[in-house]
Amino acid sequence: EPEVTQTPSHQVTQMGQEVILRCVPISNHLYFYWYRQILGQKVEFLVSFYNNEISEKSEIFDDRFSVERPDGSNFTLKIRSTKLEDSAMYFCASRQGLGSYEQYFGPGTRLTVT
């Protein structure tokens, strides 16, 4: 059964550096999402992406954040000038669309900013 994959599983970076979190959604899915979960807190929506553009974004998704689908398979989240408070688990999800509401999640990338 196809799955969403994410790399790396754990990323450690120094404050102020840039990180790129990678996701490979399920191949026939059209809608893509990033969520984050700070340790001990609830899952929070960051951004949704469809037809090569951002559909919606939350207040968390400030101008340090960007998403890209550079080719037909990858969906990346870039965070510039990382802050300590960016430390969290980042989940990618994809949805087929066309009347299907289920979002399929990747295993997550744990980002630690030191």
């Binding site: 899952v43 929506f45 949704s48 509401y101 979002q103 999640f105």
Partner: protein, 108 residues
């Protein structure tokens, strides 16, 4: 405001006992509600969707619009049910709004 509330951070029951994980929501439109489960070291996965009215792994959840609730129930808990359970609401922009999650521990 759109909100999902799971009042219990932790629920611990004995194997064979009934389980009820509470979820309340606040939403102005017609809600679409889900339960997601995350087993230890695994990804989030969809357990139930209210529209489908299925029973998955013995779990059921009924949408009660009067009480704005979508509680998850299972009559007889099994040890493999131990996991984090998240209630989520799909808003009009197809974003999931999440509850804080309930950690369910099934004691042998």
């Amino acid at each position: 405001a759109q909100r999902v509330t799971q009042p219990e951070k932790l629920l611990s029951v004995f194997k064979g006992a009934p389980v009820e994980l509470k979820c309340n929501y606040s939403y102005s439109g017609s809600p679409e509600l889900f339960w997601y489960v995350q087993y230890s070291r695994q990804r989030l996965q969809l357990l139930l969707r209210h529209i489908s009215r299925e029973s998955i792994k013995g779990f059921t959840a009924d949408l009660n619009k009067g009480e704005t609730s979508f509680h998850l129930k299972k009559p007889f808990a099994q040890e493999e049910d131990s996991a984090m359970y998240y209630c989520a609401l799909l808003d009009s922009n197809y974003q999931l709004i999440w509850g804080a999650g309930t950690k369910l521990i099934i004691k042998p």
